[in-house]
Amino acid sequence: MSSTLRQGRRRPATRVPPGLMIVGAVFALGFLAANAAIGYVVIDGRLDGQWYDIRDLGFAVQELKAQLDAINDDQPGFLDDIVGQHWMSYAVGALLGAIGILSFIGGALLVLIWVERRLIGRMQIRRGPNRVGPYGLLQPVADAVKLIQKEVLTPDGADRILFLLPPAIIFVPMMTAWGPVPWAPNMAYLDINVGVLYLIAVSSLTTLAVFLAGWSSNNHYALLGSMRTVAMMISYEIPLSIALLSVVLITGSMQLSEIVQWQADHNLWLIALLPIAMVTYFFSSTAELNRTPNDIAEAESEIVAGFHTEYSGMKFGLFYAVELGNALLVATLVATFFLGGWSLFGLEEWIPGYLILFAKLSAAYFVLVWLRGTLPRFRLDQLMRFAWQYLIPLSLFNLLIVAIEASLLARWDAPGLVTLGLFTVVNWGAAYILFRDWARRIGYQPDAGGPRRAELTQQVGGIEAAHRMGTAT
């Protein structure tokens, strides 16, 4: 049976028409010529600092601001006295940044919802959305159109004003938290020197909105979900802050562009130097996001939908968009803090920095989706225990180790390769010992004979069987 089906899957060899080959060759030649031209211009150095340098859109914005300042100086208006000099360039720069970030989030969300659903479908041996548009690409658009046409209900006994506020309150931190992310050396529209602290402050505002939503709904499920969320979010905020502290210690700055610059200067991503901080940050962030390994806040099988049980239509759509936008933000921050941001060992001279960052954040986002497809949901007590008895002592210990290393790095007059290499080895050894032994100490017991293969499912189900049947796409 299987042999005939398998033959059916095989495609007959097709001949490529010669006209298509000529077009392809012309395109390939054009691509090579364009790359050679770009390489010539880059090596020549005539792009550096020019406004038409598309590797760094920050230059163009600076040029625009300078011209606006000149106009402002020529024709001073009455607003100069009230708001201050050069208000126009500040406002236009900020507006451009906000619109750019907003359009990026919108576009990336539309694509990444589709990517996530397809990937999850793939991991669960089904197809995922494939009907609306080519390959189901228009599914997120269709979802948005559907949601905006649905009735928005307000339940009985709900606190009407407080019920209206949370979708707006939860959306704003997501917008503002994107500000300090550097997309290229000069391309951050809110490049403040307390960036890390700002991020922690802004992202913890989400907790307030979640609690408001749960409390004002007048629903038992919603209240339970929001209480759980608040307990979990505040527990995981501590290891998250302490993990970022070790990044601040090593790089000596809270400015995100400086942190990325440090990684570019030393040609070393912080994931190599700070594995414990990386794992702590990543796991704590998934708890803050309410995504599947830690989604007890909206555990469908226990408390319907958690804090947004009573929200329908576009209000629910806003919650959903914010959840995905925050996942994207966490992927971006992981890429910025631990994967080197826009730097790629010197290749950022050729490739625009924002494309490098996008590639890295896509990789981090894929890991988030992978976690969602792989891990089952943790229980609430397991999660709290993990935060308080494992992650917090671990990250405090890691902080003290990294502090010693930071002071050694500043004082020890050895080449960077020696010190940083030594620290990398020491930190990975510490990570291995701490992750393994501490997990065993608080009660993790691996199976004696290692994990067993599920033999029956290999035969009757699973992706291999699907291939045998010829039904997998």
Binding site: L95, Q149, V172, L190, I238, S241, W388, S407
Partner: protein, 121 residues
């Protein structure tokens, strides 16, 4: 324009943009979506039954324990941030002070642990 205010102007503008977007989405849904008042529709969801009682009832005390612990540790993290920036210049003395600070907090954590405050019951 004042440098400090200019630095934080993007926060204001992003906030306003976010609010505008949310309000646009809600108004759009108000224009496009059907809207009809009905008593049955507005009951809160509770597995299809009528809801039992109001939700402003008791909340487990364990949430408060975690909240108190959170405040202590979060304030600690905020204290460590300025230390992390300046400690390389100050030197070994700053390091031992921070070890002492973390040790006191760790003793508190161990105490809460042994008392069972971290057990979810």
């Amino acid at each position: 324009m004042d440098q400090l205010f200019g630095n934080y102007l993007p926060v204001l503008i992003a906030t306003v943009t976010g609010f505008i977007l949310v309000i646009t989405a809600l108004i759009g849904s108000r224009l496009l979506a059907p809207f009809s008042q009905e008593r049955e529709k507005a009951t809160t969801y509770e597995c299809g039954m009528l809801p039992v009682r109001r939700t402003s009832t008791n909340v487990g005390v364990r949430f408060y324990l975690y909240a108190i612990l959170f405040i202590i540790f979060d304030v600690e993290a905020v204290f460590i941030f300025p230390w992390a920036l300046s400690f390389v210049e100050v030197g070994a003395q700053a390091y031992w002070e921070m070890v002492l600070f973390v040790a006191i907090l760790a003793v508190g954590l161990v105490y809460a642990w042994k008392k069972g405050a971290l057990q979810w019951r």
